[in-house]
């Protein structure tokens, strides 16, 4: 079995290496062939592993390779295969496979995005496939890890690939800006993450999950001294530091600013990385660390509050966007907020459940949006769309499914997972859960509103695009449509299929540990549970009703009375301005952090580097050169000079010892 575990990430890595290094030689078909084969095989093997885990209960935790040994600590590559890992592996490889197939269609004429005859443009297709395979490898290493070092490796590797992909069209100023921003914001998060890992290593002396979880209870009351006279609980410090990392990667307020900008990348990666997989790394990590987080209510409170803020306020931003991808991007932020709220309410299983269903329908929505973008000749402004449903029936149909799932309408997948989180928050007694409950319930309305705003603006109403585009409107090719259909299936079904074992059953085994007093679902589970009951009960609760109201309002504003939208926008001008500026996060960051760093850097460069250091060094170099030229003249070539120098040397040496 170990060979299978090892093969899953390595297949992706090998495919990425072949497509990347030999891209020019194997051509386009070779590149997508080899990467789709690699990821497809990884998906099948992951599926096999998942079956093995869930059917036969075969878990695995152990090293597969010893990387280096330093100061008595062994850095190892190791795998922890349990229910949580298996779930993640299947989700990651499945979405990745869909995205791989879809990319064939999406990137088909990518050379138009590059200057004519440029080398970068010639291989961009192969390069893209290499990157997304490499990403899949990194993400698999992250989720399969059994220790913090490898987790960190995967964490950084997905960050790196994300950087490469956001800036994939590196001839565009905005793409460069966006990838730099994503990278820098993630550095902030990673700094916290690294601090957390360092604290674990300092206090636990080990970085293996199992050992850390084993030792943790004995350090539960450990206090540490950080600054001033305040004492922190060690566990709380570690949990919060790790969560700072999660905030960066999973784009929680205030480290969320990179995600909307990351839409500069090609759409397939928005689906793969910025919706379905990488941004969920933070959620996954917290769920993986549930034994630690369960020990710190302070950290859980922080998590639930941050999550609630993200869920509510980022959702609001979705309402005012006109760029089709940005709407989905803000919806992703908001949904990540939901997952984070779930974590804070100790409903790790519900969060992972939502992570899974969200991966499917969000990938579906992004890929659907991509399909629209292809048809629109890479225009993304919804004000230039409208009435597309006649031209693109399949895209329309699948997007409707995705939106219904996202809005949490029963019986689609999103309903179950989102309602589970809301339910969990409802039962939670942790500080901040009241606010969180309010946010997620209101969020249901907002979600439905912006989702259907997108549907109505894009697919309904009168066509608003120019004549030329309209004449060429047509449904996307099969490689684009098939992934949409395949993703639609779990978007419909994953909810009622998995809710029972995931929330109430023993789906995750020991992979996720929840203290009995934090467990919102334990009580319900005792009375016997079925998806049908959950649906019957949930269908008449506020969240679903609010979602329905949201859909109806969207219909009124954008189909029945399109003039209303503009009127309201004018009435609420001040609020809209705040939203249009993303609550001024970007402006403040740009001015204070980016601007400050630039000013400091240029000041140091001009005064310290150029004047002092360079001046000193260059002067020294000239001096050495001058001395060298003079001293070489001593070497006259005359034998008697040489002998003389020797004797003088001897004489000086002797004098040194006689008189000193």
């Amino acid at each position: 079995m170990q060979a299978v575990y090892l093969a899953i990430p390595l297949l992706c890595l090998a495919a990425a290496a072949i497509a990347g290094l030999a891209g020019g030689r194997i051509g386009r078909a070779g590149a997508h062939g080899v990467t789709i084969f690699g990821v497809g095989a990884a998906f099948l093997l992951s599926f096999y592993v998942a079956l093995d885990v869930f059917r036969n209960g075969h878990l695995f935790n152990g090293p597969v390779y010893s990387w280096l040994s330093s100061g008595g600590y062994n850095f190892q590559v190791g795998f922890l295969i349990d229910q949580l890992t298996a779930t993640m592996m299947v989700v990651v490889t499945f979405v990745s496979l869909m995205v791989h197939i879809y990319t064939i269609g999406y990137m088909a004429d990518d050379e138009h995005n590059w200057p004519k005859d440029s080398l970068a443009g010639k291989n961009s297709y192969q390069r893209f496939f290499s990157y997304i395979s490499l990403f899949t490898f990194s993400m698999l290493m992250l989720v399969m890890s059994n220790n913090f070092i490898q987790l960190f490796f995967g964490w950084e590797a997905v960050g790196l690939v994300s950087y490469l992909l956001i800036g994939f069209w590196f001839n565009r100023e905005s793409a460069i800006f966006a990838n730099m921003k994503a990278f820098l914001v993630n550095r902030v998060g990673d700094f916290g993450f690294l601090l957390g890992i360092a604290a674990i290593f300092a206090w636990f002396g080990t970085l293996d999950y199992d050992a850390v979880f084993g030792i943790a209870p004995s350090l539960a009351s450990q206090q540490i001294h950080i600054a001033g006279s305040t004492h922190w609980s060690l566990i709380t410090f570690i949990c919060i530091a790790l969560f700072v990392g999660a905030m960066g990667k999973s784009a929680q307020v205030p480290l969320h600013v990179w995600l909307p900008d990351s839409m500069e990348g090609p759409t397939p990666i928005s689906a793969l990385i910025h919706a379905a997989t990488m941004v969920t790394a933070g959620i996954f990590m917290v769920a993986r660390m549930s034994p630690l987080y369960e020990m710190s209510e302070t950290a859980l409170s922080l998590i639930i509050i941050i999550g609630a803020i993200t869920a509510l306020f980022m959702g609001l931003l979705g309402i005012i966007q006109y760029d089709i991808k940005r709407v989905i991007a803000y919806s992703t932020l908001s949904q990540l907020g939901y997952m984070t709220v779930g974590l804070g309410a100790s409903a790790y299983n519900a969060s992972i459940f939502h992570l899974g269903t969200h991966a499917f329908f969000k990938a579906l929505l992004f890929l659907g949006a991509g399909s629209v973008i292809i048809a629109m000749h890479h225009a993304q402004d919804m004000r230039r769309m409208g009435g597309l449903r006649r031209f693109m029936p399949i895209t329309y149909f699948t997007m409707i499914i995705g939106s219904l799932a996202l809005s949490g309408i029963p019986p689609f997948a999103g309903f179950f997972s989102k309602d589970a989180i809301i339910e969990a928050v409802h039962h939670s007694h942790i500080t901040g859960s009241g606010f969180a409950y309010f946010s997620v319930v209101i969020g249901a309305f907002i979600t439905a509103f912006y989702s259907f705003r997108l549907i109505f603006m894009t697919f309904h109403g009168k066509p608003r695009m120019d004549e030329h585009t309209r004449k060429h409107l047509k449904e996307s090719p099969a490689v684009v449509i098939v992934p949409l259909l395949l993703l639609a299936i779990p978007s419909v079904m994953a909810g009622w299929q998995f809710i029972e074992p995931m929330l109430y059953g023993d789906f995750f085994g020991d992979a996720i540990r929840i203290l009995p007093r934090h467990n919102a679902f334990a009580e319900a589970g005792e009375h016997g549970f079925s998806a049908w009951h959950f649906m019957k009960h949930g269908a008449f609760q506020p969240p679903v009703l609010l979602a329905l109201i949201g859909m109806v309002s969207a219909y009124i504003f954008y189909v029945a009375r399109p003039d209303l939208a503009g009127e309201w926008r004018a009435k609420l001008a001040p609020a809209v301005r705040v939203l249009e500026n993303n609550y001024y996060f970007d402006k403040v960051y740009q001015a204070v952090f980016a601007g400050g760093a630039l000013r400091l850097g240029s000041c140091l460069w001009k005064s310290a580097d150029v004047k002092m250091i360079d001046g000193f060094i260059n002067g020294l170099a000239r001096a050495v050169g001058w001395v060298s030229g003079k001293v070489r003249l001593v070497q006259s070539g005359y034998l008697y000079h040489y002998a003389f120098v020797m004797i003088i040397g001897l004489f000086l040496m002797i004098s040194w010892f006689l008189y000193l």
């Binding site: 050495v624 060298s628 002998a643 120098v645 001897l650 040496m653």
Partner: protein
């Protein structure tokens, strides 16, 4: 006094090598020109056989009434000397043939020089040490002068001979003063005779100064370095190659036998002298090397600075420091072989190609050898992760442990200066246009060996720890 037949067994390798040198001489005499390759092969074979004998009989022993020592340090150094000599033979074969000096004498003289070095390495008595030194020196003088028709070579041989004679005189004078105070020539007995208190003895101090000066000359440390650039440049490159590598090991052994084996209790005094020699060498060597245009001359100044660096390890006066020095000199010898090997590679019948400018544009013509040269130069400059860096690190580490911080700082600063002229060659190779077409000389075996020589500087890293441990255990035995 009863005469006992000494135990010859520990000296079998030397005896064997002496016989083989004679055999090569006779063979060459009777078989003549057509069998030159036989002499070449036989010399290499006898060196290999001697190495095998040393490995087979590795032991710690004293014989000939304490005159002849066998220990781990000696064995390692002898093996290294012979391996280096084999590399010299292989590197210089075509060069010698081109210049009609591919003669039996060359091999015989090289073998006797090796024998001289082995005697120096094994010497337990000042007389034997002197004997070995002279055997080595005389062989070297003749080797340099082998191109009788070359003005440069004869001039170099002449200078080396006269200055060498002066140094030998100084050495003997120093030895006689030590003999006067201690009443013995046996190094172990000298060691026992000198107590730490006696070091105030003026005659002994004077003797020490003379001995150190002579060693300084042999190594080429400033201010006894004047012969080095002229001899390096004037000799045929094949001889410079030999001169620059193996004898440094013998000089290290001489330093160890005399200063540690004999005069260890005066370490307070020789430490100071060596600091002066070492720092002047590092500073002077590195700075003057910058102004050179001739590759051999530049490498000569580089040798002076490396000698200074290696003295730093010795002057820390701890077994760790000696081990660091030994490791340094082994690595240095290895790098020098490669560097001169590169000059041999570029030379041809008509041209010595020993100017730095000859390396211009190497990359576009021969990328592999540009890489080889880069590895050699970067390692010489002591840039991580190449082995040359580890060697420097070991020495600096020994200095820091002996609390000679300021010496360490000065040494590091000057090696930064030194990095300039090594890296300049890299710059020439990669960024400049070639002046004329670069032709490669040498046979298949040389090309392979040279490439291995350079690659070992980075691929050998995993075995560094092992090598340093061996040096450590060798010197732990000594003191």
């Amino acid at each position: 006094m009863e005469f006992q037949i000494p135990d010859f067994a520990p000296a079998y390798p030397e005896i064997f090598l002496l016989c083989m040198a004679g055999a090569v001489l006779l063979l060459d005499l009777f078989l003549g020109k057509r069998f030159r390759n036989l002499a070449y092969g036989l010399s290499i074979a006898s060196l290999l056989a001697t190495i095998a004998m040393i490995i087979g009989s590795s032991q710690q022993a004293t014989t000939f009434n304490g005159m002849f020592l066998r220990d781990l340090m000696g064995d390692i150094l002898k093996i290294a000397v012979m391996l280096f000599t084999i590399m010299v033979f292989i590197y210089s074969r075509i060069y010698q043939q081109d210049r009609h000096i591919f003669k039996g004498e060359y091999f015989v003289l090289a073998l006797t020089a090796v024998l001289g070095m082995m005697v120096m390495i094994s010497a337990g008595n000042m007389l034997l040490l002197y004997l070995g030194l002279e055997l080595l020196s005389l062989s070297l003088y003749s080797l340099i002068a082998m191109r009788r028709d070359s003005l440069h070579a004869t001039e170099a041989a002449m200078k080396y001979f006269i200055l060498g004679a002066l140094a030998s005189g100084i050495l003997l004078y120093g030895m006689s003063m030590i003999y006067v105070t201690t009443g013995t020539l046996d190094l172990a007995q000298i060691h026992a005779a000198i107590r730490t208190g006696d070091s105030a003895n003026l005659v002994l101090s004077l003797g020490l100064v003379f001995v150190v000066v002579a060693i300084g000359f042999k190594l080429g440390a400033v201010p006894f370095h004047m012969w080095v650039p002229d001899v390096y440049q004037g000799s045929p490159t094949s001889v410079t190659l030999f001169l620059g590598s193996a004898p440094k090991l013998a000089a290290f052994a001489m330093l160890m036998r005399l200063l540690v084996g004999g005069l260890e209790n005066m370490s307070g005094q020789w430490q100071q002298m060596l600091i002066i020699l070492a720092l002047f060498s590092i500073g002077f060597g590195n700075i003057v090397a910058i102004a050179q245009t001739n590759m051999k001359r530049m490498l000569a100044y580089s040798a002076i600075s490396h000698v200074g660096f290696f003295l730093l390890g010795v002057l820390s006066a701890t077994p760790d420091g000696y081990a660091a020095s030994m490791f340094y000199i082994l690595v240095y010898g290895f790098m020098t072989l490669g560097s001169f090997g590169m000059i041999l590679l570029l030379s041809n019948k008509d041209s010595e190609s020993d100017m730095i400018a000859n390396f211009k544009g190497m990359f576009s013509a021969h990328p592999l050898y540009a890489l080889v040269m880069t590895l050699l130069m970067v390692s010489m400059a002591g840039i991580p992760p190449l082995i040359g860096f580890n060697a420097k690190l070991a020495v600096i580490n020994a200095l820091v442990e002996s609390r000679l911080y300021w010496v360490a700082v000065v040494a590091v600063l000057f090696s930064v200066v030194g990095a300039f002229y090594y890296l300049r060659i890299v710059k020439f190779m990669y960024f400049d246009q070639p002046g004329e077409a670069i032709r490669l000389n040498g046979g298949m075996e040389m090309h392979t060996l040279l490439t291995i020589n350079a690659l070992a500087l980075i691929l050998g890293l995993p075995w560094i720890g092992w090598l340093i441990r061996i040096c450590n255990s060798a010197l732990a035995q000594l003191s």
